[in-house]
Symmetry: C2
Subunit: 291 residues, 2 copies
């Protein structure tokens, strides 16, 4: 299947991400429908013009009309939905998703999916510090990365279709990673960073220090405002990989701590020189992006 | 002594911070002189018009003309300078500094200082990710905090004079803390944050991940580019307090790690809810400041 304007797209789950997908794909000229848990969500999206139609009930006939189905719900809800309702999906349809972890979802879904359907995983690395369809905005994709995570069960056509979805929605970079590489990357760059921010924010009541707070503490804790329901689920779905990244960090943090306690200045300076050297690559990249 | 335009001010050490002080105080109409290690530094500052005169040699007569002397050099160099040259300072002069840690410096200096001189500690919480007089800019003080750290050896007049210096240079907030409270605050808000950033940056070669890096990792590692000579000295001068802050963080980080490893979702969520709650205060404050 190729991505063309005659393909009907169903967004299953209409929160911040599902709503933003709906807005972007409708803006591209696709016929976009939606299923959501609450009718108010559907009503809101219809009023905003980001979907053409939608329903809050499981309607086999409605579901059966779509060529592409994109799941934008909590991971466990995605798995349950497939278990309960996959029989209604049109034969030959391509399924994708927005789930932030891949291994623990992809292999489970692919193992139980009907043979005449194809599921290709994707992770749009975009978001906002809020949730709900009312906060959906397709602008969040501008400048963001879109990662497709194929397995050996995927066809080149579905991989290309999935990448095309990312392209038409306006992502900055479309990349391909194995589910394993994806989860390691996200465990290190995103989940570990969130674990650090949360731990820093809770380790001391710092309310009385607000007046003295400069940029460094604010930078490190910006992501400490976090949706606990979603993120705890994602952490646990990537448990082994995340714990591995946390242990890598703890080892170096303990080395820094002991070097300070023992007055081992040379080790402290070596770590600082290495961190300075490595951080430069991230600046260069950012400057490239901005130019 | 009151701060008035007839007071002559000497900046001892003319790097990023000393140069920015010189620029700000010259712009206020003070007669500002400087001592620096290298004559090129003095020549540059004269050419830029941020000092009226200066020297790279120890000249008793030159030093003896100033009413206020502000030290903006490495902490150990500040202590050495006082040991070797305090006899040249004018009787009745007030001495201040810009050192980022206080207890380990203040009590040492005050204990050895001539009885006819008064040293009042200050910490301008401003800076740039670069160094040297060429990068000095008085604009770095705008919106920044200026902390005065008196002890029971200080007079109300010198404390007020020191605060006035911060006011005329354009700092956003002038605050007063004991050296002990200052060091705990800076150990938690700034030094701990830098230890975390450096440890995160060195714990894994993340060069190949640059393309996937979103804001969270960049935010957490922005301060991982660090002047290793200066910061290792400051860490070690605040050793006990900093190690205490690091242990507070490690304890919570270990709790997060074990909760993830054990699938204890409720503990993870509790930590996230607390961090979300606490982080809000820092947003509110920032919004207040911006309005």
């Amino acid at each position: 299947m190729k991505l063309s304007k005659d393909k009907k797209i169903l967004i299953a789950g209409l929160g911040l991400m599902g709503g933003s997908y709906a807005e972007a794909l409708t803006a591209c000229g696709f016929e976009v429908g939606a299923v959501a848990r609450r009718q108010e969500t559907i009503d809101y999206a219809l009023k905003q013009g980001i979907i053409k139609h939608g329903t809050s009930v499981i309607d086999p006939e409605y579901i059966g009309q779509f060529d592409i189905v994109i799941f934008a719900m909590y991971p466990h809800a995605f798995v349950e939905w497939i278990e309960n309702n996959q029989q209604y999906i049109k034969s030959g349809a391509v399924i994708s998703d927005v789930t932030g972890v891949k291994c623990s979802i992809i292999y489970k879904i692919q193992a139980m999916l009907r043979p005449d359907l194809e599921y290709i995983g994707a992770h749009p690395m975009a978001g906002r510090e809020c949730s709900g369809v009312e906060n959906a905005r397709m602008e969040i994709f501008k400048g963001a990365n879109y990662i497709v995570t194929p397995t050996d069960r995927n066809t080149p056509e579905a991989i290309e279709l999935c990448k095309d979805l990312g392209r038409v929605m306006g992502f900055r970079m479309i990349a391909e990673l194995t589910p394993e590489k994806h989860d390691e990357m996200i465990g290190f760059l995103s989940q570990l960073a969130h674990c650090i921010a949360v731990s820093l924010m809770v380790c001391k009541d710092s309310h009385h220090l607000v007046d003295y707070t400069g940029d460094s503490f604010r930078d490190l804790t910006r992501i400490a405002k976090i949706n606990d329901e979603m993120w705890s689920e994602l952490f646990l779905l990537n448990r082994d990989v995340l714990v591995e990244q946390m242990d890598l960090f703890s080892e170096k943090f303990a080395l820094m701590r002991d070097s300070i306690a023992n007055g081992d200045r040379e080790t402290i300076r070596q770590m600082m020189r290495l961190s300075t050297e490595r951080r430069k690559y991230f600046d260069v990249k950012q400057e490239d992006d901005e130019s």
